[in-house]
């Protein structure tokens, strides 16, 4: 029974990594950028939601308003900051997103301070029990929201005109413009959607992690690992990889004495390296074949 409980707990933590990984994958699919500031933008959004709650708004309405505001935040960041770097090499855009990470981290500290803040749970605080295993409503809710987000994202990216336009622009902006696609507008939309998804991720995990400017710094490492392991272009891949990471980390810490609590973070990362040696495109990624 202990193993089942470990798997359930692993899936719960994996869902947290998965939520942020999903935003990273969406940003990459829609804009071609690996956004290291994705987590920090989510933290900023979560602080905003916390302020709304403090001002007297209910949790659910506060999250809804925050998601809407984050769409605008993401689009603004693209228009004002990233637009200057989009023609540059991937290395430069990555450095720009790291700069953005530091900027937003500093701004969060300046506005809201460093002390830990309790964020009210989005779901009720109960626990479900079945045959000796226990799962909190919060973990279950996070899990279900994540599954729903994957389905919505899949429909958006693979089945809608907007999704096709976003993928085309991420693939080759100049060529897409020649087909009449408004590249700048679509990049703003891509950043906005990723920021909105990040806001949902931030608000879901804040009750468990407590809110402070560095809340998602550790999670970002796992989320990047999950995105890479899953294939960086596949929303489903990122989430499944996040679950694999969460579960393997938990099982290794419990059953391998040598690893215990201290070395648990290395297990999923080693696993990621091993998988990438055998499958460079990730578990679910499409292999890139380019002929000239």
């Amino acid at each position: 029974m202990r193993a089942v409980q470990q798997v359930i707990d692993g899936l719960a933590t994996g869902s947290i990594y998965g939520a942020l990984a999903l935003a990273l994958v969406l940003a990459h699919r829609a804009t071609g950028v690996v956004n290291f500031a994705q987590g920090q933008m989510a933290v900023f959004s979560t602080f905003f939601a916390w302020s709304l709650v403090k001002a007297g708004l209910g949790v659910i309405p506060a999250v809804a308003v925050t998601v809407a505001a984050s769409l605008i935040l993401g689009a603004t960041v693209e228009r004002v900051v990233m637009r200057r770097f989009e023609r540059e090499s991937p290395m430069i855009t990555i450095v720009a997103t790291v700069g953005l990470l530091l900027l937003l981290n500093g701004m969060s500290s300046l506005i809201w301070g460093y002390d830990l803040k309790a964020f009210p749970p989005v779901f009720s605080g109960g626990t479900l029990r079945a045959g000796g295993a226990a799962v909190s409503i919060t973990a279950l809710g996070t899990f279900l929201v994540l599954v729903a987000a994957v389905l919505v994202l899949y429909a958006l990216m693979m089945r809608s005109r907007l999704g096709l336009a976003l993928r085309a622009v991420a693939d080759n902006p100049d060529s897409s413009a020649l087909s009449g696609l408004p590249v700048g507008y679509l990049l703003m939309v891509g950043w906005g959607l990723a920021a909105g998804l990040g806001a949902i991720a931030g608000c879901l995990v804040a009750p468990k992690l407590y809110l402070d400017p560095n809340m998602l710094a550790g999670v970002l490492v796992y989320a990047l690992a999950a995105a890479v392991l899953g294939g960086f272009d596949s929303p489903l891949g990122a989430v499944v990889a996040a679950w694999i990471i969460g579960v393997s980390e938990n099982l290794a810490a419990t059953y391998i004495d040598l690893i215990g609590n201290d070395l648990r973070i290395s297990v999923p990362l080693l696993l990621t390296v091993l998988v990438l040696l055998l499958r460079p495109q990730g578990l679910f990624g499409r292999r890139e074949v380019v002929r000239v």
Partner: protein, 248 residues
């Protein structure tokens, strides 16, 4: 500069008018005053040696480089528009290197060409007619476009341009890097398109013979200026064309 004829051989009014256009990249100016017309329903070939400014002329029309001067499409000034705005007016530019969206499938590449259209039955019909024109694309419709051969990618680029139902097609060296047999097949399709749909084209092409064969008019560029223009049939017999083309 020698004017071979005063009257244009095609009778239709020009759909594209380029006059006194200077253009270039950042600080280097490539075009130093280019004038050319493309008649509606006609095919104009743009010839010249490497570096003469052929590609830059097409890029100036579609707004991919800085440019000054008169560029009118259907009487409307387009010299200040962005590439996506130019495209939405009905100018489809098939760039050198084909602009394949490598990570998207063949079918998705074609649909990107039709994203601005709202007539769904028409889009479906055009998709089918693309597959009829280029059967190779039908076989590879679900393949990632980056995995297509050079010839298939060129056909895909032309197909994607056609999916927007363009009123003017700008083709930049479509035969570049293709096997002779594949190139021949592509020009057969272009000739059919012209005959059946009256598709207007401005064609940059290295194979002068093939280009002059499909075109009504031709313009020869040399270091960013027009040095020769006239009906394609007349230019085809001239030594000057070969000289200009070889750049000697």
């Amino acid at each position: 500069m020698s004017e071979l004829v005063n009257e244009r051989s095609a009778t239709a009014a020009p759909i594209l008018e380029v006059a006194g256009v200077v253009a270039g990249y950042q600080r280097s100016q490539v075009l130093h005053g280019v004038d050319l017309d493309v008649a509606g329903g006609g095919v104009t070939a743009l010839l010249g040696a490497n570096g003469a400014g052929k590609t830059t002329t097409l890029r100036a029309i579609s707004g991919m480089v800085w440019r000054r001067g008169t560029i009118r499409f259907d009487g409307r000034d387009i010299s200040r528009l962005r590439p996506d705005q130019v495209a939405r007016l009905g100018i489809a530019h098939v760039p050198q290197g084909r602009g394949t969206l490598a990570r998207l499938s063949t079918a998705e590449n074609l649909m990107v060409g039709a994203l601005r259209r709202r007539d769904h039955p028409g889009v479906r019909a055009d998709l089918q007619s693309c597959y009829d024109l280029f059967p190779a694309l039908a076989y590879r419709r679900d393949a990632v476009a980056g995995s297509l051969s050079g010839g298939e990618q060129q056909m895909l680029a032309i197909g994607r341009a056609l999916m927007s139902r363009p009123r003017l097609l700008l083709l930049d060296e479509p035969s570049l890097g293709l096997a002779p047999r594949v190139s021949l097949e592509m020009f057969r399709v272009l000739r059919d398109l012209r005959a059946e749909r009256g598709l207007t084209m401005l064609l940059v092409e290295q194979s002068v013979g093939v280009a002059l064969d499909i075109a009504d008019n031709a313009v020869v560029l040399e270091t960013g200026r027009v040095t020769l223009r006239g009906p394609a049939a007349e230019l085809a017999g001239m030594d000057e064309v070969r000289r200009a083309y070889l750049g000697s």
